[in-house]
Amino acid sequence: MHAAAKRAVAMFASRNQSAPPLPRHSTKLKHPIDRRPHPMAHLFFAASIQRHIPLPERDVTACSVDEALSVAFAEEPRLRGYILDDQGGLRRHLAVFVDGKPVRDRRRLSDPVETDSRIYVVQALSGG
């Protein structure tokens, strides 16, 4: 499980005993020797998500998509279950775009983000 998800699970677990147990080394930093300044990206959630949980667009300090999402999850813990499945991967019918390109790593959301990257969390269109 990726680092941001571990942190999110930790927050979740404090509220919900049925959350998965924390893996070992859960406090290990993902980039322990990365001393670059973290970029400020812009995070947007589609209106269909905001129908359930209001989430104004915001700037987040993050090096990767998972770190960006973890910021939002920290503010609104219920959001995690709307975006990620039980194993911490991106839900099957959601997509995340970074600067117009779909993320490559749907399981760990490790795709990097740059300063001024624009991260969109959207849903696939299906159903009736």
């Binding site: 499980m1 509220r15 919900n16 005993q17 049925s18 959350a19 998965p20 147990p21 893996p23 269909s48 998500i49 359930h52 219920r78 279950g81 709307y82 975006i83 499945d85 039980d86 194993q87 991967g89 991106l90 839900r91 099957r92 019918h93 959601l94 997509a95 390109k101 779909p102 993320v103 490559r104 749907r106 399981r107 849903q123 696939a124 299906s126 159903g127």
Partner: protein, 395 residues
């Protein structure tokens, strides 16, 4: 609980109907909760009067909400969460995920091995649907059971605030052999708590037979012997773990009397599920729903369709069947139901009987809702224009 309310879970929300005064077969809609959202299951807890609604938001997953007795605002409960999946299983699942980077050719994805040397691919250990919600026994306030897809049984000891997967059943090697029935992955749709002993719980799986515990879920045993799965190769048709009981109900006053509407017909047990006997009914033995009389173990109702490959009423004539002699004979009732041709289908949780055994309610995939006050012999149309109905219960 006086059975004067109906909970109707539909593709577009949870509807509540209330009995309309003295006319006991007249119901009026009193509430529409979660407008536009699919409600896969609902529960009125007889122990404290609270309501629960399980939503399936599709893109955003499964959610569970609770409305305490006397409250006006629903509040979100925790949702059952599966434990971390072993990495090898997760790798197989990742290869099957639909969204990949456009630059990545599908050919580069790893195909799961099909040479028989590896176990059957596991579904992603992630909640797809709460298929049924049931209250624990009257001596277990706050305890809830949730039957889920994929193949899970969860228990909450605190009104849904936290949930725990029952590992003794989940970890049974037979669970890996369960097949999807109705949905892509196997699921638990029936949970029966024994009124004589709350530690005795019976669950039914599409497709994985019938499992029982006598120790609150610490150990389980398969109890689908006698069922017959005509869809399997001949040498495997009587294996209990391949059976697809669409719905299992018991007589509350005589819980050893069990009925199932199985994928391949109607089966009955009079010995607590140790042995099942096949029953032939007219116009058909195929269907999804069954309601068992709360006091008369020989009485049950069904809503038949032609057969598994033809899931519409026989000859377009929508009927309810009833047996009062343990399945030896069946009566057919159509009074008050739509005229020929009608194409209503009643899902697993779409047929309910009240605590007296005289009032019934039934909802269809076409959005029809009917009630009966004469033990199913005649019906009153409450609405013909609801969304597709998944769940009907008296509350």
């Amino acid at each position: 609980m006086n059975d004067d309310r109906l909970l109707i879970g539909t593709r577009k929300g949870l509807f509540v109907f209330e009995a309309d005064g003295a006319a006991s077969n007249r119901w009026k809609q009193s509430a529409h909760h979660f407008i536009g959202e699919p409600v896969s299951s609902a529960l009125a807890d007889p122990r404290d009067g609270s309501l629960y609604a399980a939503l399936n938001l599709g893109h955003f997953g499964v959610k569970l909400h609770r409305l305490p007795a006397g409250a006006t605002e629903w509040h979100p409960c925790a949702t059952p969460v599966y434990p971390p999946q072993p990495e090898a299983d997760a790798e197989v699942q990742a290869a099957a995920e639909p969204f990949t980077n456009a630059d990545e050719s599908p050919d580069s994805l790893t195909e799961p091995s099909t040479n028989g040397a590896t176990p059957a691919p596991e579904p992603l250990w992630s909640l797809e649907q709460i298929w049924t919600l049931e209250a624990g026994g009257p001596d277990q306030p706050g305890i809830l059971w949730a039957g889920t897809i994929p193949g899970g049984l969860f228990r909450s000891d605190d009104h849904g605030e936290t949930w725990t997967l029952n590992r003794p059943l989940w970890d049974r090697p037979e669970r890996r052999e369960w097949m999807g029935g109705g949905y892509d992955h196997a699921g638990i749709h029936s949970v029966l708590v024994d009124p004589r002993d709350s530690r005795h719980v019976t669950v039914a799986v599409s497709s994985g037979g019938v499992w029982q515990t006598n120790d609150s879920g610490a150990t389980w045993r398969q109890t689908a012997y006698g069922m017959q799965a005509d869809y399997m190769p001949p040498e495997r048709r009587e294996e209990p773990n391949v059976q697809d009981p669409h719905r299992v109900m018991h007589c509350k006053a005589a819980p050893d009397s069990l009925w199932t509407q199985h994928h391949c017909g109607i089966f009955r047990s009079t010995d607590g599920g140790e042995h099942w006997t096949r029953i032939e009914a007219q116009p058909s033995s195929f269907g999804f729903a069954v309601a068992a009389h709360p006091h008369e173990p020989d009485t049950a109702w069904f809503a038949p369709a032609v057969k598994d490959a033809f899931r519409i009423p026989v000859d377009g004539r929508f009927v309810v069947t009833r047996t009062r002699d343990g399945g030896r004979t069946f009566e057919q009732f159509a009074d008050g139901l739509p005229p020929v041709p009608a194409y209503d289908l009643v899902y697993r949780h779409g047929l309910a009987v009240d605590s007296t055994g005289t009032r019934l309610a039934m909802g269809s995939t076409t959005g029809g809702l009917w009630t009966s006050v004469d033990s199913g012999e005649s019906w009153h149309e409450v609405s013909a224009h609801l969304p597709p109905i998944y769940h009907v219960s008296f509350a």
